[in-house]
Symmetry: C2
Subunit: 234 residues, 2 copies
Amino acid sequence: MQIAIVLYPGMTALDAIGPYEILRFLPDAELRLVGTETGPLMTDSGVLALGVTHSFAETPRPDLVLVPGSGPNTATAMADKQLTDWLRRVHETTTWTTSVCSGALILAAAGLLDGRPATTHWIAQSALPAFGAEPRRDDRIVRSGKIVTAAGVSAGLDLALWLTGEIAGRDHAELVQLYIEYDPRPPFDAGHPSKARKEIFDRANRLGRQIALSPGEFKAAATVAWRRVLTRRS
Amino acid sequence: MQIAIVLYPGMTALDAIGPYEILRFLPDAELRLVGTETGPLMTDSGVLALGVTHSFAETPRPDLVLVPGSGPNTATAMADKQLTDWLRRVHETTTWTTSVCSGALILAAAGLLDGRPATTHWIAQSALPAFGAEPRRDDRIVRSGKIVTAAGVSAGLDLALWLTGEIAGRDHAELVQLYIEYDPRPPFDAGHPSKARKEIFDRANRLGRQIALSPGEFKAAATVAWRRVLTRRS
């Protein structure tokens, strides 16, 4: 089984590294970190560099694809024709096509979420309908056929554990869960808009708007990407 | 505030990247990924490379230090005199000295856990007493003065969120928790030895022994490192 975790400049590292640390224990899995070109790229912190092991061209038939999100760079990735063309092409033969956080918008920009339920980071949910996707604001992971989308950043851990259960069975998933000691005990309980105090939500919303895109910008990026998909179809 | 996340060859990526994705939102924080030399190093998967931004020598006075663990390479890091000497030196002036997973054994090898309660990956708990540390098998994070140790791999998220609360206050911690949507919903509940089915625990234990050290090897590494600490003291 070939696993391709997509890396792109300005991505959010944990979106990819959470699932990576779980999916790498799938039996007989070949794990690749796939990008435009091999070598290091900078994540959204401007500090952490991750290494791409294989180019898109070198990876024509992955079995499992995972697309991470980004604060500031989702729109750039959505507009990256090489990435979205590759996603659309490999999706034809994948067993699973998945995303974490605003990675769902990149799947959407590739035209893969049209008419499907999906989830994404809470701050990006409102951008989904522009691509014909139906937001599921309260779901941590959403399966629609072979496409599985996860909520923001840390939700990739739950996604990967769920995928491990589907692919290798519950026993193996529990084995990996125990191995990475995934027995979360967050000291606070504010990880979802439905749980956060209003003033905290408002502040996070403002912070998110600063480092991510405004709804208008998402919509503009959506329009460009969507137009391309429609043009290709016609 | 200067944050130094230690990277070393063969480390477990999520041990560092989980906390990184939380600590980087501390107000006025300068985040560094610190290692023997700047540039890329390979993690324990043999696939994912991470980039070191600053050498130990360039980072003499970090305020917060975090040491990740490893499956197969903890003993190598414990025996890395440059790393343990640096840890002991910077610990004199840190505000917080912290570890995730078997990173606790690296703190221990630097002589920093003598006489202290601590936690680590469940598979490495039995190695703590050799360094004079008192294992706390059921605790996700253990604070002892300015030293805070976390349990295996994914426990770094809880550690970093707790630290954020201590350093920047509860409101800011909840803000970051919401931003990374840390509202865990693991599809299984087997993330701690006390929760795992016996057959799963036995298999994880065998897997862990294969990719990590045996108790005897931990003890041998412990003896070497400990002897060095004792020699230095006398």
